[in-house]
Each structure stands twice: as C-alpha cells, then as structure tokens.
Symmetry: C2
Subunit: 221 residues, 2 copies
C-alpha cells in the first residue's frame, strides 16, 4: 500500500493527493508533525518537508517531482498535455501557485491563522493577514483572466495546474478566506473541480480546533 | 535570436544559461533590473521574476519549466535520464537546490552581500551571513555523500541537477563563499562541470562594484 506522511491543510500534500485520487491510486494517509523534525522523519526526507510518499519501494519528496513521477508511471488519465509548449504552460502555472501564490497568499493567511497555532508559534500577525487578504484578489483576477480564454487554467483540458491551484484554494476555503463572489469564472471552475470524485477526501478533512465552515464541503457553495 | 532578461549572479538565470549553452542554443543576454518592476518587464512576466526567455515566438518564465521545455524541444545532448525513477531524482535535486539551498544559503550569502547593495537596500545582515556560512557546510556534506555513491549528483550521467547545483555554487564562488577544501568529491565534481564549454559565459561575468576573485575563472582553482 502506498503511504503519504502529510497534514490535512498542506497545499503541497493536497496537490499530490488529488493527482493520486484522480488516477485511482490507493493511498494511506499518516499525519506527521513535520515541524518537530523527528529523527525518523528527517531520515525519510532530509529536506524536512511534507509530503513524503512511500511508493514502488521508494521514499519520495518534493510535491512537483512526485506529481511528475506519478504522471510518468501512471499516465492514464493524463494530467499533462503532449505538446511541449502546453506542458510548459502547465509547469509555469504549477510554479506560479506553489511559489508566488504560496508566498503571497497561502503563507500569509493559512500559516498565520492555522499553522502558527497548531505548531505553538503564537498568534496571527495581522499585517500578514491583511497583506494576504489583499493579494488573493489579484490572484483571483489573474485566474479570471486565464479562464476567460481557456476552459481550464492551462488550456482546454484539466491538468496538474488545476490541481495545484485547487489545492491552495481549498485550504483557504477551509478557513473561509476565498471570496467566491469575486469572479463567476473562478467559482464555476472551482465547482467543476470540487465535484470530482478525487476531491472527496479533501472535503472530509477535519483539523482539530478548526472546524470547517458549512460551505466548505458543499458542492453547491 | 533567443533572448534572456537576466542578471549575471542569479542562480536561476545561470541554470537556464548552462542548459542552453550545453545544447548549443544561441542566446542573447539582456540585463534587467527586475526589482524595479518596470511596466514593460511586468508585462513580459507578471510574476516579476527573472529569468524571462524569448524563444520560439514565446515569452517564458520560471526557470525549471523553461529547462523542461528546452529539454523536450532540444533533446540532444540529453540532460534528463529516460527512467521515471531517475527523472524523479533529477527533479528532486533541482528542487533541493532551488528551494532549500536557495533559502538556506544563496539568499543568506549572495543576496545579503551583493543583491542588497545593487538594489540599494542597505548593508548585509550579519546574522543572515553567519547562518548561510554555517548551512553551506551541511549542503556540501550532503553533496559529498551523494558523490560518494554516484559520478554526478543524480546518478552516473550529468543532468539538470548538476547544472542547478553548479548555478548556485558558481554564484557563491564569485563572492568567495565556497570552501573547496571541505570536500575532494565536491571539488572534483565542480572542476569537471566548470571546465565544460557551456560554463565559459558564466566565468566571464562581471558585476560592477564586485570584481570576482582570481580563482573564480581559473579551471585549476
């Protein structure tokens, strides 16, 4: 059985979970307090980060390399187009969400509101929360612009880029930090991806001390 | 003609320059003060980062997606193995250097000593410099351990992972922040990669106000 060491509200773990669920690869989830950097965990991944996946007799880390590995070893259903320019666009957007969106939004909202408390690092810094709440508007507008021209974020088929974006937004939706009224395009896109069977595991997540709002698991949000 | 908007001491630009030079793809370099975020530059890359590459009639950003695109469109000489597990290992190590090494070392040494001055952001923070000087030892030891088992960082052939690592180390070597006496393995590996024709452009780089030390361009360092 494949295993993942994870936390429920990690966008990087969620991206890999979505990819594996979409490809119907079974996965056992094990919560890991990775910030405690236990010697056993550090042996599994010297980078000290989640997700860590045990699969095919290997211990894998780094969410994007893991997703590329899964795509290459389990190509059906495909989450990457065949054309190099289209593949580039998928990878650019995965990096956009995992780097820029993560730095400007996820780390400023989710990490301030949830991770700090869970890790015993004190209270949210309101300056960061305000900055994140401001920046997410820009990102939702950028997604709106992309979705004006395309059915999915990287083109006319669903790809890794959609799962990377949905992984971040679903974490933020768990703490009610996404204004779905800002863009009909983005709301329609999220409704489509949220209703996929691969999304069910994420919608059932519960973090102790942080109950999700009612709309979080509602497909008709 | 292909063009890159870059700065000489950016490890992300250097990685792409090395890949293109190794594949003998011509490239015109244009220095870009990306931190000024000029409207023209932001139009080229809304993420506001370098490198930005004009190639095949497209404007490309994000260094790893660019490298994957180049590898797919110019597969000879190959910088990626064929086996999915070996490809995973290349991608994991590229992420290791561009994420962990970058955060713990490059940003603490190079950005403190050079970028801050160039961008008019004041003096190096000695706490950061000290932390980076400490952490690079751990990374050199990790590379030593990898090179004990392999001829190149990700396996027995030279790959993108070697260029990612060499891009960071060459920037740090420009400011004399690499102790080549720490590990014969790492020094031998760097000597091999430094003597490749693809490296010549990097060794000729000059940053105004920061002359490189004599050993920087010396193949017999």
């Amino acid at each position: 059985m494949n295993r993942m060491f994870h936390v429920p509200l990690s966008p990087f773990c969620r991206k890999v979970r979505l990819v594996m669920a979409e490809k119907k690869i079974e996965l056992e989830l094990i919560e890991e307090k990775y910030w405690e950097q236990s010697p056993e965990f550090m042996r599994r991944n010297p980078a000290g980060k989640i997700p860590v996946v045990r699969m095919d007799g290997r211990t894998l880390s780094e969410s994007t390399p893991i997703c590329e590995y899964i795509e290459e070893t389990h190509p059906t259903p495909s989450l990457m187009p065949n054309d190099p320019a289209a593949r580039y666009e998928v990878r650019r957007l995965v990096a956009w969400f995992d780097d820029k969106f993560h730095n400007e939004v996820t780390s400023k909202l989710l990490y301030e509101r949830v991770n700090k408390k869970v890790m015993g690092q004190g209270y949210p810094d309101s300056k960061n929360v305000k900055a994140g709440a401001q920046k997410i508007k820009y990102h939702l507008d950028y997604m709106t612009w992309l979705l004006d021209q395309r059915r999915w974020l990287a083109g006319d088929v669903m790809t890794l880029a959609d799962f990377a974006a949905a992984a971040h937004l679903s974490c933020l939706d768990y703490i009610s930090d996404v204004d779905w009224n800002r863009s009909a395009n983005v709301k329609d896109w999220y409704a489509k991806i949220k209703s996929r069977p691969a999304f069910r595991g994420l919608l059932a997540d519960q973090v102790s001390g942080f109950p999700p709002p009612a709309h979080y698991a509602d497909l008709d949000f």
